[in-house]
């Protein structure tokens, strides 16, 4: 058995091969969705895609929060590897599409900081909530939610 001090390497070494490939495939899918989200945000009016975010009802099932968190990690990993500057909204959109595909109830929240704290960067933010938890986009507040999708 090889020794390696990197936790990431140890993690990969301990995953069965099919699970590792499933993880990689999800990350690739997340990257594609991030690119699509980036294009939508940049070029397509909000009204044309806002109805495709969030999922109110996952068939009456309790949201699989662990799965939502795992998918969120795939999105974050993909985002770090892309050369595009994918900020919070495309990330939230990509995760939302993955969650919708798996029927996991969630919402995408768009929020704003109070006026004295709007000094340019990061005065707006988007995140994904599943159950009572923010599974992607946690950022220290204060934040005031302007809109949730689905509404």
């Amino acid at each position: 058995m090889s020794t390696n001090s990197s936790p990431a390497c140890a993690n990969r070494a301990s995953l069965p091969a099919p699970d590792l490939w499933a993880q990689r495939l999800l990350t690739v899918r997340a990257a594609a969705l991030l690119c699509g989200a980036w294009v939508l945000v940049a070029l397509v009016p909000f009204r044309r895609w806002r109805g495709r975010l969030g999922l109110a009802d996952g068939g009456g099932l309790v949201p699989d929060i662990d799965r939502a968190r795992w998918l969120a990690r795939r999105v974050e990993r993909a985002a770090t590897r892309l050369r595009l500057p994918v900020k919070c909204l495309p990330r939230a959109m990509a995760l939302s599409w993955l969650l919708r595909r798996e029927g996991i109830a969630h919402c995408v929240a768009i929020a704003i900081r109070p006026a004295p704290m709007r000094d340019g960067a990061d005065s707006l933010h988007a995140w994904v909530e599943a159950g009572d938890e923010v599974v992607l986009g946690q950022l220290p507040g204060p934040w005031h939610v302007l809109h949730r999708m689905p509404g």
């Binding site: 009204r47 806002r50 768009i110 109070p114 006026a115 707006l124 005031h144 809109h147 509404g151």
Partner: protein
């Protein structure tokens, strides 16, 4: 009567400010001070003249100035699709 087109926006109040998100474009508007005072009075119970009269009694400014400000603001709200009526 002046009415809000509720389906066209989301709104939140932060202290003395109203922040509005236009659901067609995703743009944000910040309404504070006079604009906020006008916006909060658009509730389906007042027309333009009643709005001006209401603000004139509450603010120490000439009625003509208030009327001009109100007309300009209402025009911008109509252009954004946020209100209807007169």
């Amino acid at each position: 009567m002046l009415t809000r087109q509720e389906a066209r926006f989301s709104e939140t109040r932060i202290d003395d400010e109203y922040v509005i998100m236009l659901l067609d474009t995703g743009e944000f508007l910040s309404l504070a001070g006079t604009a906020g005072a006008i916006w909060e009075r658009i509730d389906g119970t007042r027309d333009r003249d009643a709005l001006v009269a209401d603000l004139t009694s509450d603010f120490a400014a000439p009625a003509t100035q208030i009327a001009a400000d109100v007309d300009e603001f209402l025009a911008s709200l109509r252009e954004s699709g946020l209100i209807a009526g007169s």
